[in-house]
Structure formats: C-alpha cells, structure tokens
C-alpha cells in the first residue's frame, strides 16, 4: 500500500537580501537551498536543526507567509506557492500552524473563545451560537473545560495556552499540522501532557504532523521519520530509529553526540560510542508498512 503524500516540497529555495547600500548590490543569502521533502499522510515528520538551519523558515514558506524564490509546495496535488487567492484560502484551511510560544501566538486582548473562533469567522458563515458550540467541542478535544472560554491568554498557564493554540489550529479540520517547537517553552511535566495530547489527536483525527524541534528526545518520541536540516539543506532523512542508531552524516552524529538522552540507560550510552558505519543511501525509500 503506497501512502499518499500529504505534503510535497520540491526544490524549495528561500532567500533574503543582506548587505547592500548606496553603492553595493545586496547579496542574496540562501536560507533554504533546494529542499525536497515528502511527508506521508498520517505520519509525523520530525525536523531537527540548529538556529540558522532554516527550519522555521521552512514552515513559514510552506504556509506562504514568507515569499519563496523558487520551488513548489504541493498539498492535495495543488501548489500552494502559485495558487490564486481563492484557491489559497481553501488550501490554507487544510494546513494550520502551532507556534512555539503560545503567549505570543495568541492575541493578548482577545478571550479564548474569540481566539479559537477566529478561523471560523474568517472562513465560514457559521452564526455566533454555532461558532460557540464548535469552540466548546474543540476545547473539549484538547482537554480544556468550557469555563476557559472566557479567559484571557495571560490568565492561562503555558500548557493551557498551548492547548488553546492547538484548538484554534484544529478549528477548520485541517489535515496537516505544522508545529514549530510546540513544547519547547513548556515545563517538562506540561510538555508530557501536550505531547500525549498531540499523539491522541493524531490517532483520532488522522492528522499529518511536521514537528520542528531542537530537542532530540522529544523529536524521537513523536516522529516516524526525521529530517535533519543544516544550513538550508536536508542533509539526512530517514526513519527515527535508523537516524538515532546509525546516523550517517557527520553533522547528525555531532548533533546526537552533543545532546545526551535524558536517561543513563545502557542503550543511551551505547548510542554515544557506537562506531559509525556507512551502509546504504542517506535518503529515505519508503518501504510498505515501514515504521
């Protein structure tokens, strides 16, 4: 059974111009240098990389929030980057984003029910009571009692606020969720709750996730496959276990060596000292039923 692709990125390039003044032409800086990526339906693709690698830029350009120099981003067969405005609106419903810091991704002067209802107001003609009903359902889906509907973001804890952000992202029933370090600003115990929630939601709603994180233990926990981003290019891509057990690219190896797993188990120590072997190709060929 060949899994359909939820997201197809081909040769995506994003640049910005830096330097340049009165007499000098600005030099283009390549933030993303030809990204090729296929994310399969219902899978979680982990995207790791350090600052400057371009991982946030990748998400923003897939959403067409920043302009791309060239390349294609296909959802359900259509190219997001060249879609006309009305098609773009429809495509936007299918993919949503959750940002890292919920307190900056939620408008501080709006209460929770307005925040979660906003996508409904923009895209649907639901009446106010209909919207409120949907908001209550969404809050329930993310484990927040309806009493939270009237609260303001600053009254919520990090974990609660992030759940609100997730509820908002789910309002239009998207198929693809882009998550930019969704748990990085949360405490460990709260992170656990949110990760569990994300896993459950994926099961229930058949979502596809692109999960960006710099925290390797979180990424390996939630991802089926991992792409390693370095200086605007994907330098390694493969199933999670393979990446962690036998990383091929020196940068991946360095990354793994530098971030220790959170447990001094035998397996972990083994990981750090395992000799590197170079078998097979660095890219991922999906075998049917491969996990």
């Amino acid at each position: 059974m060949i899994q359909a692709a939820a997201l197809e990125i081909r040769d995506l390039r994003v640049e910005y111009s830096a330097g340049g003044g009165l007499l000098r032409r600005p030099t283009p800086v390549r933030v993303l240098d030809g990204i090729d990526l296929i994310v399969k339906e219902r899978e979680t693709l982990g995207l790791v990389g350090e600052s400057g690698s371009g991982k946030t830029t990748l998400l923003l350009s897939v959403l067409r929030l920043i302009p791309a120099a060239s390349g294609q981003v296909r959802i359900a067969g259509e190219d997001v980057l060249t879609a006309p405005r009305d098609r773009l609106r429809w495509l936007r419903r299918r993919m949503q984003v959750v940002f890292q810091n919920p307190h900056s991704s939620l408008d501080p002067h709006l209460p929770v029910h307005e925040l979660v209802a906003e996508p409904l107001r923009i895209h649907t003609r639901m009446t106010r009571p209909e919207r409120l009903g949907r908001v209550t359902n969404l809050l329930d889906d993310v484990g927040l009692p309806s009493t939270f509907a009237k609260a303001f973001p600053h009254e919520l804890s990090g974990g609660q606020a992030q759940r609100v952000a997730i509820a908002r992202a789910l309002a239009l029933s998207p198929t693809l969720l882009l998550l930019d370090e969704p748990t990085s600003s949360l405490d460990v115990s709260v992170q656990a709750q949110v990760l569990n929630l994300l896993v459950d939601l994926q099961q229930e709603l058949g979502l596809t996730y692109v999960f960006v994180s710099h925290d390797l233990s979180v990424v390996q926990h939630i991802s089926d496959r991992i792409a390693v981003l370095h200086l605007g290019q994907i330098i390694e891509l493969g199933p999670t276990e393979r990446i962690f057990q036998s990383p091929e690219h020196p940068y991946t190896q360095a990354l793994l060596a530098a971030s220790l797993p959170a447990e001094t188990s035998g397996a972990a120590r083994h990981l750090r000292t395992k000799p590197r072997d170079r078998k097979g190709l660095p890219s991922d060929h999906a075998r049917p039923g491969s996990q």
Binding site: F99, S104, P119, I122, R168
Partner: protein, 270 residues
C-alpha cells in the same frame, strides 16, 4: 484620582452653567450693563464685572464649554486620523508607509503652534476653524507613535497566526493591530487633553478662536489685558486661572492614566 473629581467638577460646571449663575445673559455672553462696569469681586458678582458690565463669573463658567469642546474634539480627531494612518503605514510598509510618513514629517517640520496659527488665520476666525487648525497639527504625533507600534506588532506571532489562518490584511489590521496599539494611544490622548486646551486658549488669545461676544477664556484674558494696569485685575486673572487649573487637572489625569497602564505596577516577579 483627585484629578478625576476636579475634572468632573469642571465638566459639570460647564454643562450646568446656566443654572449656576443668574447673570447668564444671551447664551452665556453675559448682560452688558455699563452702570455696573468694572465692579470688583463681590457677593453679587463673585468674579467681578468686566468692561461692559458683564458678570465675569458667568462668563468664566460658560467659557469652559468652548475650551472643553475644543480639547475633546481636537484630541479625538487627532487620535482617530493619526492612529488610522499610523496603523496602515506601519502594517503595510513599503511605499504606503513612505508616502504617509513623509507627509507626516512635512507637517511635523512646522512648529505646531505656528502652523495652527497660520491655518486658523487663513480661515474665518471662529471656534470651528480653531478646532480644525489645531487638529491638523495634532494627528502627526499619533501617526508616529502608532506606526512604531504597528511595525513591531506586525512581526508578532499572533499576527503571523492570523495570516496563516487566511485572514486578509484588513482583517488583521482591524482585529489584531489596532486593538493592540491603542494602549499608548490612550495614554497619549489623556496627556494631550490638557495640552490641546492650552493651545486652544493661545489661539483665542490671539483672536483666532471664538469671537466676541461669546465667552472664551483666552479671549477674555486678551481683552482684559489693557485694564490690568488700571487696577482691574479680575478681568484677566479669573479666566487665566481657569485655563491654568483646567490644563493642570487634565495633566494630572494624563499622568494617572500613564501610571495605571505601566506594567511595572503589577509588581510580581518570577
């Protein structure tokens, strides 16, 4: 807090002026009665009478109206126009930003009072022209203030989130940018009320505001000047004091608003 009470008093005095004094005359202008001209302050005329025998107290009370109206309208107009332009400029960026800001800069390059005087002078002198003239010089400050805010809000994640939801720029501007720039704008507006009243008084002092016989503090100060050396101080001092006290209380109000909106007042550390 005290300032709020004081302002309430002033406003009430302006509104209920007709009931506070028997010497109202036609629409507050006072009844000329040359027989009682230049009367010193007394029980009958607490602030004395002016050169035409009109009760100064009544005129001061009624004079509150044009001043307050001017202050309110000027600040409101300035705020609305300035905020609107600033939000659009900051959020849109690019050539829209350039055009709006250059225009703003041009107006700001003139000394405000001078510009107001020039404008008022070219229009037929009246309260309305004074209001228009001062408003023109007032909105650029808000534009500058709001634009800076808008530029920083543009990059915030909640704006990004709204755009990713498919919101149109107008939607984002109205629902997310404007509400969040209003904070400093409110503070500025509160501070400006007193200043606007002062500018209005300055213009009417020069004869560019309400015309006689309408009572207007600035005008009254100007008209009474020539009699001060003759010993008739009450014609000038009372309207002058009114200007001073009003501007001062509004200034305190502005201060209070500023302190109240300072996040440091919340005090808790983590």
């Amino acid at each position: 807090m005290i300032s709020l009470v004081a302002i309430a008093l002033i406003v009430l005095a302006a509104v209920f002026a007709p009931w506070l004094t028997p010497h109202e005359g036609a629409g507050g202008t006072g009844t000329p009665d040359l027989a009682t001209a230049f009367g010193a302050p007394s029980l009958e005329h607490p602030f004395g009478t002016d050169d035409l025998g009109r009760d100064v107290f009544a005129r001061v009370l009624f004079g509150a109206r044009p001043s307050l109206v001017l202050g309110a309208v000027v600040v409101t107009l300035g705020m609305v126009i300035g905020t609107g332009l600033g939000a659009v400029a900051g959020f849109a960026g690019g050539w829209i930003d350039e055009i709006i800001m250059r225009f703003t800069d041009i107006i700001l390059s003139f000394p405000a009072l001078l510009l107001a005087i020039l404008l008022a002078a070219t229009l037929r002198p009246s309260l309305e022209s004074a209001i228009v003239a001062i408003s023109v010089t007032w909105w650029p400050w808000y534009t500058r203030l709001v634009r800076a805010q808008a530029v920083s809000i543009r990059e915030r994640h909640y704006v990004l989130a709204a755009r990713s939801l498919g919101a149109s720029p107008l939607w984002v501007l109205w629902h997310h940018v404007l509400p969040n720039v209003l904070g400093p704008v409110r503070v500025q507006a509160a501070l400006d009320l007193g200043a606007a009243i002062l500018v209005g008084a300055a213009l009417s002092f020069l004869g560019l505001g309400s015309q006689p016989p309408s009572p207007d503090w600035g005008r009254m100060v100007s008209d009474g000047r020539q009699y001060v050396l003759g010993g008739y101080w009450w014609l000038t001092v009372f309207p002058g004091a009114a200007i001073y006290v009003t501007a001062l209380t509004f200034s305190f109000l502005g201060d209070g608003v500023q302190k109240a909106s300072d996040p440091r007042a919340r005090g808790m550390s983590s």
